[in-house]
Structures are given as structure tokens and as C-alpha cells.
């Protein structure tokens, strides 16, 4: 393998990790997701921060009730892509997009679509657990209260906490501050908080990178359970995690989607050489 690498390097004469990929690369796809199984479709999506183009011509279909992982080196645009799905990038100054992201039958970047409505229907969990300095109950109830939920809040909170595998640990202390929990518990609280609003897609931006291995393990199992009811898109820089947790994987590099397909195939038999270099640890 290293011979191939050094051969390529000497041929091109450039540093491997920053090797620019040619414009309009056709993404290598394996077993593309059929339309009837998809819940989220990203079509020819570009994004600019000012004059810098962070995402190039991304086309990706996310299947329902499966876990899709976005992998790639730092700066590959995977977080940017994730945040584009729930229009979190709208909050950044000077952001410009083109292309479309379709969720169900709604085109999210349509003129009349309110990002607030989008974010109430697509949940997000962040890299560092960020519960509000409020009680556990209030944290989980926050989302439903925003949408004016009038039903039985206690029951909703319990359901969400159960779905996040946290209920047993906190059921007797719902009034305590969310910050009194351990790191792993806080992250599960954030997951419960995201689930409480009733989204069908949950986005996770490196959810375990700030956690210890035991907490990480619990959350990976949780993700596995979640896909019974939810579609999960997870960004991770930890390839082993992607291998453990996801059904499909998409590999990105310098803002372009290089290859995507079933996780097994990506890791054991990648078709694009860039993918191969990444998954065998040559850069990243």
C-alpha cells in the first residue's frame, strides 16, 4: 500500500491530504437508496461561507429508519453538511447556498420555508453535551413547550427519557439540574431533549467525541435502538464508530462527496482510491 501511496505522491508532487479533488467528481455510489425508502434527499447542494466554497455539488439520499454516517478528515465539510440539513448554517453571517434539500415532500430551502419550523421537526445533538441550566424535566419539556404542546407533559417527558435510555437513572430526580449529571448522562439528556419534539430525523454531530469509552458505548447502543423509530445521520471522525453504528456511510473530502454506500462495503471494499486511503488511515 505504501508503495502505491509514494508512487502517487511523487507523480502528483503534492501533499496527499490537501490534494484537491477535481471539480464535479461523480460520487461513487453502491446500492443507491431507492426513492420509496428515502426520507431526506440532498440534491446538488453547494454552500459558501463568503467567498469560500465549503460544499460542492453534494447529492445524497438518506434512507428512513437507518443510521447514515458522514465520515472524512477535518475540514471535509461533514459538519457543514449536517448543519445544512436543519438550516443551522443560516445563523452564520455571510452564508450562501444553492441546490436543494428535500424532507418528506417539503423543499427545505424554498423561499417561504421558515428555518424555525425546520428545526422543530429535525432534531440535533451536539458534540459537547449542552443541557440548559434548568431541571432535567425542564430540559426535556423545552422543545414541546416551544410548539405549544398541550397534552400530558409528564408522559411525554417520560417517553423521551425512556427512548434515550435515561429514564431509569433519573426518574427520581427530574427536578434536579441537568448539569448535575455525568457527561454521558448529559448527552443522553440532550438526546431525550431532541426526541421530545417528535422529529423523525435526528442529526448527531460527533456526539461521543467528548465522552469516555463507557459513556460512548452506551450511546452507540442507544443509536442502534433509536433506528427502530428514527432516521439518524451521524457525523463522526472515528471510523471504528462509524463501522459499529451505521448502516450506510458517506465519505467526504474537501467539501465533496467522494463515495457512499453500505457501511460494510465502504470499509472492506472501497471503490474510490481516496476512500481507500482514508479508511486505511493514511490521512485524517
Amino acid at each position: 500500500m505504501s508503495d502505491v501511496v509514494s508512487e502517487v505522491a511523487s507523480e502528483e508532487g503534492t501533499d496527499l491530504a490537501s490534494e484537491p479533488v477535481a471539480e464535479r467528481v461523480d460520487t461513487v455510489r453502491t446500492d443507491p437508496v431507492p426513492v420509496e425508502e428515502s426520507v431526506l434527499t440532498i440534491a446538488r447542494f453547494d454552500l459558501w461561507y463568503g467567498s469560500f466554497q465549503a460544499l460542492h455539488d453534494i447529492t445524497l439520499t438518506v434512507p428512513a429508519k437507518q443510521v447514515t454516517a458522514l465520515i472524512g478528515a477535518s475540514g471535509s465539510g461533514k459538519s457543514t453538511l449536517l448543519r445544512s440539513i436543519n438550516r443551522m448554517n443560516d445563523l452564520v453571517e455571510g452564508v450562501r447556498v444553492s441546490g436543494q434539500i428535500t424532507y418528506g415532500d417539503v423543499e427545505l430551502y424554498d423561499h417561504g420555508v421558515d428555518p424555525v419550523e425546520v428545526r422543530r421537526r429535525i432534531g440535533m445533538v451536539f458534540q459537547k453535551p449542552n443541557p440548559f441550566p434548568k431541571s432535567i424535566y425542564q430540559n426535556v419539556a423545552f422543545g414541546p413547550r416551544l410548539t405549544g404542546y398541550r397534552g400530558n407533559m409528564d408522559a411525554l417527558v417520560e417517553r423521551a427519557l425512556r427512548a434515550a435510555a435515561l429514564w431509569d437513572e433519573v426518574s427520581d430526580k427530574l427536578n434536579q439540574s441537568g448539569l448535575s449529571l455525568s457527561g454521558g448522562q448529559q448527552q443522553r439528556l440532550c438526546i431525550a431533549r431532541a426526541l421530545a419534539s417528535g422529529p423523525s430525523v435526528v442529526l448527531m454531530d460527533e456526539p461521543t467525541s467528548a465522552l469516555d469509552p463507557i459513556a460512548t458505548d452506551k450511546i452507540e447502543r442507544l443509536i442502534h435502538d433509536l433506528k427502530r423509530d428514527y432516521t439518524v445521520v451521524i457525523v463522526t471522525h472515528n471510523m471504528q464508530q462509524a463501522g459499529r453504528v451505521s448502516d450506510r456511510t458517506a465519505f467526504m473530502h474537501l467539501g465533496k462527496l467522494i463515495e457512499e454506500g453500505p457501511t460494510d462495503q465502504i470499509f472492506t471494499n472501497p471503490k474510490h482510491e481516496m476512500t481507500e486511503r482514508y479508511v486505511s488511515g493514511h490521512f485524517g
Binding site: N130, F132, P133
Partner: protein
Amino acid sequence: MGAVLLACAALTILTTLTVVVVLASQTIAFFADPAVTLWEFVSARRWTPLFADQHFGIAPLLAGTFMVTVIALLVGVPMGLASAVYLSEFAGPRTRRIATGVLEVLAGIPTVVLGYFALLFVTPFLQRFIPGLNLFNALSAGLVMGFMILPTVSSISTDAMQAVPKSLREAAYGLGSTKLELVLKVVLPASLSGIAAAVILALSRAVGETMIVSLAAGQRPLLTLDPRETIATMTSFIVQAATGDQPAGSLASRALYAVAATLFFITLLLNLLSQAVVRRFRERYE
């Protein structure tokens, strides 16, 4: 050299001690006089130490201070908070610099000038709309004082709000919060202790403020809650007594110290309360 520096620092402690000693001794002498009782001081309704017929109930002064302070808070706190929200959530860097500059200029206006403004501009203006508004009244003084405390409330609250970490804001936006909801449900509750400290501090400044009330509110002790009336506050009485010609050591002169002691005591309590609030309820975000 270290000894010299120590002496400098010790001087500040000496200042506090002297204040306490002076106030305490004169106040004790005040109450030692047979004409005055502590009971009368706290319960009587008339304050006329400078007249021949002397009464020593501090209630009218407290009422005056209270009224002006409440009006000032009603004006200054909401505006200060709104301004803090604007500065920490909405303003771009350039706007923030201009706005902060305006508030700093406002904070730098000497209070005697503000008193002039209250008496000669605000009162005539208000007299057109409010029947029965005296030339010297608590309302104008309170309104202008509200603007005086605005910068204090705003700057301390802005610091408190900006201390709320970005990760919390992201969490709220991620759940589909609007900016309004973010401010009301996340930022304000999370910065509450800092805001409380700001309000208490502003309150303390309003209580101790002298020139605006001396010029615009009057120097007539009156037990009332009608802001259109001419009143006296603790501070305006102190000025009145000091610029009059009571012989030192007379009961009237000691009354000045008694009122000053009350004032000092109140502001000291407020300042300690403010520090305690910050210490006790300082938010932890991690």
C-alpha cells in the same frame, strides 16, 4: 517600600472606619438627646428638625426616597435590560460600539446637569400633560434618574448575558427557538443572578443620588406617595441641613448625621446583598 505601600492600602481601611465612627458617634449623640426617641424616629410622620417646632420622624424622607427610587427603577431597569438584550443579541460590532458609546456618555453627565435638565426641561414638558404637577416634584426627578441608572443596568446585564455560552444558544436554536424565545427562555434565566446584581446596584445608586433630587424634587419633607408633589429625600435633606446655618453640635445638625447614617446603612446593605447574590447564585454552565 513595602511598608509605604501597606500604608496606602491601610488608608482605605481607615476611611471606612472613620465613616462608621463619625456616623455612629453623632447618631448616638442624636438619640441621646432627650428631645428624640428611637420610636419617634421610626414612626412619627413629620420631619421638621430645622423648624422651631421640631419633629423627628424619618418616614417622610424615606417615603420621598422610596418614591423617586421606585420611579427610577421602573424607568431604568426595563430600558437597561432591553438595551442589554439588544447589545448582546442583536447589535453588530459597529452598532455595539456606537450604542455603548452613547451609554457611556450618558453615564458621564454630571448629576447636577441632569438635575438642571429635570427641573428646567422635563418638568415644564410634563406640566403640559399632567395636571397638578408641581414645579418641584418626584416624577421628573425619578424619570431622569431612571436614565441615570440605565447605563449601569445595561452594562452589568450585558456582561451577564454575554457570559451565557454559545453552546446553550446553539442548543436552543437546534430545537427550533426563535431569537425572542431564546432570550426569554434561555438567556435571561441563565443570566438572572448578574441581572439581579445589576438591579440592586442601580437601586443603591438611586437611593444615594443627591443632585437630581435636590434640584428637581424639592426640599420639603412630606409623607406622601403622590409623585406630583414636592418632597424631600434623605439626600436632599442632608444638603438642605448642611447648607443652612445650624450650629455644629446642635440637635438639628445631629439630625443630619442620623439621616446620613440611615442612608449609609441602607446602601451598605444593598451593596453587600448585591455581592452575595452574585456569589451565591453564580450560574454554572458546565
